[in-house]
Symmetry: C2
Subunit: 388 residues, 2 copies
């Protein structure tokens, strides 16, 4: 069942950029216009994601600013901030608005700058990132995001016997995939030994288990089912689930279950009248290797406890039976917070069109994206498919 369609998609390279946030977003947005073959006057609204512009560059109320840069002054604009799930949340609300007939065709996307080119070093950026954890029960303990996901992953290891070697295989796979993505932050391969020999950041995570701070932007054009056929290469959005887990971490009954992901995936598959088994691949939120293992189980790609062994056995590799993160994922493609959610939608769109070259999942008909925000607080899961 089609809820809406993506008819244009583009992203900047993820990595280091010196452009302003508005310029960076405009690069992705104008690329999406070109890809769709639309002019700005055909766009009815902007659903925009940015997580940290206020903290990093004293730049808020960005939605009208970027709208003015891309020919959309006048249309209703809204900015979403939902930590790392920021632009997936914008996408969800855009799909709902288009499906409901509130708008016909909208621009959705996000942007972030997180690298030292903002003038902020790793320490200060880590503090800013930590603003998405619980202000009163987590931040005062010194917990930052490597620690958040280390705690969840340690529990997964305790319950299921997941090992550091299995986690390292996730990094190796995603770096290998990233070498085939010209937009990826990292274009080099790594090895299990290199991951395990890299410095410990937060046990069990070594440096090479962690995604980088990146700059980048992504954008898609979403239109309604009736209009989709007037565009070249529409790709259908058949389900978008969204759930929020209880916070802080200490309140979660089964922390490593990442319950919001399970709830959001169930919603998305039900809306799309499909199941995990029919997905040709997934893009998941691998901010840390352990996060990919937990996500791969939460979205139903593997049974609980099988995510680690599956990664080690190559089942989630490009030539495995359940490919995950062909783009390279956050680990290798990079993670400009507010841009990550719609960048996953860009990857699904291009894969389902058959346009991703040497990282193409052959014959992909349906795929799923999983975008997580905060201390496993927010998850948006989207199912897309080749237009029937």
């Amino acid at each position: 069942m089609t809820r809406a369609s993506v008819v244009g998609a583009d992203m900047t390279t993820f990595g280091v950029h010196e452009s302003t946030l508005s310029e960076l977003f405009a690069e992705a947005a104008l690329g999406a216009y070109d890809d769709a073959g639309v002019e700005p006057d055909e766009i009815d609204a902007l659903y925009f994601g940015n997580a940290m512009g206020g903290q990093t560059e004293n730049d808020t109320h960005l939605a009208p600013g970027v709208a003015s840069q891309v020919g959309l002054a006048g249309v209703p604009c809204q900015r979403y901030e939902d930590a790392c799930a920021t632009s997936a949340n914008a996408f969800k609300n855009a799909v709902e608005a288009v499906e409901a007939g509130i708008h016909d065709t909208v621009l959705v996307g996000g942007v972030e700058r997180c690298t030292p080119e903002t003038g902020l070093g790793t320490g200060e950026m880590t503090r800013i990132f930590a603003s998405a954890s619980d202000r009163h029960y987590e931040q005062p303990t010194g917990l930052t995001f490597p620690g958040v996901f280390a705690l969840l992953t340690k529990r997964h290891m305790y319950e299921h016997g997941t090992t550091e070697e299995q986690l390292a295989h996730v990094a190796v796979k995603n770096h290998a995939n990233g070498t085939r993505n010209p937009n990826a932050h990292f274009g080099k391969e790594t090895t299990v030994e290199e991951v395990l020999d890299s410095p410990i950041v937060a046990d069990p995570f070594h440096l090479m288990d962690c995604c980088p701070f990146s700059d980048g932007a992504s954008a898609v054009i979403v239109t309604n089912d009736d209009r989709a056929d007037s565009f070249d290469d529409p790709v259908d959005v058949s389900g978008v689930g969204h759930a929020t887990d209880v916070v802080p971490l200490s309140a979660k009954p089964v922390p490593h279950a990442t319950q919001a992901a399970r709830d959001a995936a169930a919603q998305a598959y039900e809306q799309a009248r499909t199941s995990a088994d029919e997905m040709a691949f997934a893009e998941v939120h691998d901010c840390f290797t352990g996060a990919e293992v937990m996500a791969s189980e939460a979205i139903g790609f593997f049974e609980d406890g099988e995510g680690g062994p599956a990664a080690a056995e190559g089942r989630s590799s490009m030539d495995g039976d359940r490919p995950i993160n062909p783009s390279g994922g956050l680990k290798a493609k990079g993670h400009p917070i507010g841009a990550t959610g719609t960048a996953q939608i860009v990857e699904l769109t291009e894969q389902l069109r058959g346009d991703t070259g040497e990282r193409q999942i052959d014959g992909a008909e349906k795929a799923v994206a999983h975008n997580l925000g905060g201390d496993a607080a927010t998850t948006v899961v989207s199912v897309m498919e080749v237009r029937g």
Copy 2:
């Protein structure tokens, strides 16, 4: 025509609070539950507004956090940030979602802490506020928000002959109204002389032309038309318009027209099949006295150029023919950024129920709220009416 209904409404006092952002929002949200007579398990989603928590308290991704505080862990949550129009934008999206059948009943609201109790002084808070102006063309000039609205107001004075005395009458009126609002930040009257004798902040604005920095929260429960009758005292939302003007200020063809307000008001009146003439009163975004004069014209209460004289003649006073800001407005009620939009909806709800005591607009059947964000960038205009 009913798009959705407000069936519960509450706000904290606006002023100085030492509670955390989550605690402060919970006070308003639990009050709204009580007012509606709902339990948390009857709420399907949270549409939440906060503008500056990341900058003021390193507290972002607040929506899941506040949801967990008010019994809503699990439901889809989204945070909006659209400068001073933050929670009106959340309200717009909530009304659209309820009208479209995506959710039946939702919680909408916002919170902010801006007073020195956050640990930030006036200078630093002014810098943070300025993040909502244009980062590249306005901030580097030293422009802050008193200057933004001073520029617009100066142009209005040049075009229409509006005077500082007329502006002062807006402050006098709103302070008088605020003395009848137990939730208002300021509970004292002022005089034209006192306003004109107060220090210049940004010509033509004296200190007493400017709204304060406030702490506070507001929340409403929105449900669909079918369910509204099962609640006591529903108030209908018949129109919500939303538009975005070009930025920066220098790009606006007629700066003092506040074009987004005109566009948003036209949309709202059209949706509601009504006009300004039928509005019993308005709540408008009087961050500065000049902003109220411009808003009063943009929403059609007065002809262009008549806003200043009308204020001086008492036409917008409680006993005038076009009352504006019976709550005291931002000027006297206070302005906790992310809470202001839904606080206007709280005032409309309580007025249209006839529940506002000595500041009641007798026999009010329809009313309009105008919430503006940034450098006259975003405006949301909402029309509400007694349920037919």
